[in-house]
């Protein structure tokens, strides 16, 4: 049996498929319940009850929403570019899924433990903009188009500061492998020595996932629903799932880069008994809670404020931090890799 899985091509493909299933099935279930959690948490923050009709505490609401979405009619606007219109949601959804291939849930526990894991994540997250841009253009609608353009400009802007933050983390790690990045945080999580970068990364993650207060691409009050205004039924559902899966992904990136991934906060007995994947899940859930918290707290940014924050505040700040931390590591001799 072991021989079949590790030494034949079909066995290896099957093994990877099973591994992917083991990651994606909980992820999709988590996405379904994140929508419910968002409504519940926001309701609690606004002194409402939230969904409470379907099942105890409304736990079946997620499935009710899913079934409703699947049974609706798919409307394709006349004048839309049919193929690209249908391609965009699939692209968004599948990109949100494939990024999970490199996320380590334990020491070496990733579907693909590759050397350039961080770059892979950066590449996949930079592709996310295409789903929105293509959707906005293919819909043949001005609101959708404006939403697509906004999201393109926004995501490209905030990727710059995300990249610089990642570089300053990598300086302290000396490797692009996500596994090594987590292991480098054995003694202290990076969110403590690099606290400002942690905040910059988290805010950029909000902008990258088009979440409030940076949800201008889908700003209801201006653009109706932004780039997916023309979508319905399954195509809309795919966008929705993709967006929430992206939130999971960015939370995973925050957890791995700054919150020590699968590592417990202290390497002492009762904390080390809890298995690594559970720690990672707990950290991801914490980040997601903050995502929702921010949404319930802050009003939406104006577009020029958004651009100002990205280019005039985050970019110089993260650049300066990167240069300073490189200098600091060099002077103290802490620079990993031993190139000196």
């Amino acid at each position: 049996m072991a021989y079949f899985f590790f030494h034949t091509i079909i066995g290896q493909i099957l093994l990877i498929a099973l591994e992917s299933l083991a990651v994606l099935a909980p992820l999709l279930l988590g996405v379904a319940y994140l929508t419910l959690a968002e409504r519940k948490v926001m309701a609690a923050m606004q002194l409402r009850k939230g969904p409470n009709v379907n099942g105890p505490f409304g736990v079946l609401q997620a499935f009710a929403d899913a079934i409703k979405m699947l049974t609706k009619e798919t409307v394709i606007p006349s004048g839309a570019n049919r193929m690209l219109f249908l391609f965009a949601p699939f692209l968004t959804f599948s990109l949100a899924m494939v990024a999970w291939a490199v996320i380590p849930t334990g020491n070496g526990l990733a579907i693909a433990n590759i050397n350039v894991g961080v770059l892979y994540l950066l590449a996949i997250s930079s592709l996310g903009v295409y789903g929105m841009l293509i959707a906005g253009w293919a819909s043949n609608s001005k609101y959708a188009f404006l939403g697509g353009l906004r999201s393109a400009a926004q995501m490209v802007s905030y990727e710059v500061s995300i990249g610089l933050v990642i570089v300053s983390v990598l300086l302290a790690v000396g490797s692009l492998n996500l596994n090594d990045i987590v292991l480098a945080q054995r003694h202290v999580w990076f969110c403590l020595p690099m606290f400002p970068m942690f905040i910059v990364f988290f805010i950029s993650a909000l902008a990258e996932t088009n979440r409030a207060p940076f949800d201008l691409p889908e700003g209801e009050s201006e653009l109706v629903a932004g780039f997916f205004v023309e979508y319905s039924a399954l195509a809309f559902g795919l966008f929705f799932l993709g967006e929430y899966a992206n939130m999971f992904l960015m939370s995973g990136m925050v957890s791995i880069l700054f919150l020590g991934g699968w590592l417990p906060p202290l390497g002492i007995a009762p904390l080390t008994w809890i298995p690594g994947p559970l720690w990672l899940i707990a950290k991801i859930l914490f980040c997601l809670f903050v995502f929702i918290w921010v949404r319930a707290t802050f009003p939406r940014f104006r577009y020029d404020q958004l651009m100002r924050l990205g280019w005039k505040v985050f970019l110089p700040f993260s650049l300066a931090w990167m240069v300073l931390s490189a200098g600091f590591l060099m002077v103290t001799g802490l620079l990993p890799g031993g190139a000196g």
Binding site: V116, L119, L122, L127, Y130, L133, W137, V156, L176, G337
Partner: protein
């Protein structure tokens, strides 16, 4: 065996999509085919074991350059009829340029010779599996060729500043947000409580006014408010800007309540 198959798949899709970039009628489709071509090139890099280059290609070209391409092409107002008109006019010139390029390429290929010491290049490639090609590239670029690298960076910086200088215009009608000024404002500077008799309206105060700060730049003085108000404005420099109208009776009622 598997690698060869994958290589030919990537290479075939790459060549096909590169052809479609030129042949596609819709420019947006052209850009999308260009992105597909970038992707397959990244796949070829991966097969060659250059995972760093592959990821950088995707991040830089697909994630940033092509997004801006697509951005601009989508905003262009393209009429297909006009484009077809142009084809006949520019076809001879295009054919001439293409012909020259083809002849030059043929000449170059006819005299192409592989250098005798090509085999030595292999020894420059780090063969140890512990040394990733990211580290190897970093070594080469940042240690051995640091001055060339810095020169490239300077050229890019100059290009960037040039682009900004060319496009940055300070329009007289443009409105800028001055956050400091907004924070410095206090209600006493910009609000005035008026007691207006019931039914008299606010015409005597010049109607509803906007904050003075906001029209200092954009609006032309003398075009807002009523005639009477403008005269009183000219006589005495009124610093207060926003007029808040509080009906006299209402204010009295509040006092009593």
């Amino acid at each position: 065996m598997m690698t060869q198959i994958v290589f030919y798949v990537f290479a075939a899709v790459l060549v096909l999509s590169a052809t479609m970039v030129v042949c596609a009628r819709n420019p947006v489709h052209s850009v999308l085919f260009l992105i597909l071509a970038f992707f397959n090139a990244a796949g070829l890099f991966l097969i060659a074991g250059a995972e760093f280059l592959a990821m950088t290609l995707v991040i830089v070209y697909v994630g940033a350059v092509a997004v801006l391409f697509l951005f601009v092409v989508m905003m262009l107002d393209i009429r297909f009829a006009q484009m077809r008109e142009g084809v006949q006019r520019y076809a001879p010139i295009g054919a001439a340029v293409g012909g020259v390029l083809l002849v030059e390429l043929l000449m170059a290929f006819m005299h192409w010779r592989v250098a005798g010491n090509i085999g030595q290049i292999r020894h420059l490639v780090p063969s140890s599996p512990a040394r990733t090609n990211t580290a190897a590239l970093g070594d080469v670029i940042y240690t051995h060729y640091i001055f060339l690298f810095q020169t490239c960076a300077l050229v890019l910086l100059v290009a960037m500043i040039g682009a900004i200088v060319l496009t940055l215009r300070d329009r007289p009608t443009g409105r800028r947000q001055n956050i400091d000024r907004q924070h410095d404002r206090v209600p006493q500077d910009s609000l005035e409580m008026l007691q207006v008799p019931l039914g008299a309206g606010v015409a005597a105060q010049g109607g509803f006014l906007r904050p003075r700060d906001s029209y200092d730049v954009a609006a032309v003085p003398g075009t807002y408010g009523t005639e009477a108000w403008r005269q009183s404005e000219a006589e005495e420099e009124i610093q207060t800007a926003l007029v808040v109208v509080a009906p006299a009776d209402g204010a009295k009622g509040q006092d009593n309540g």
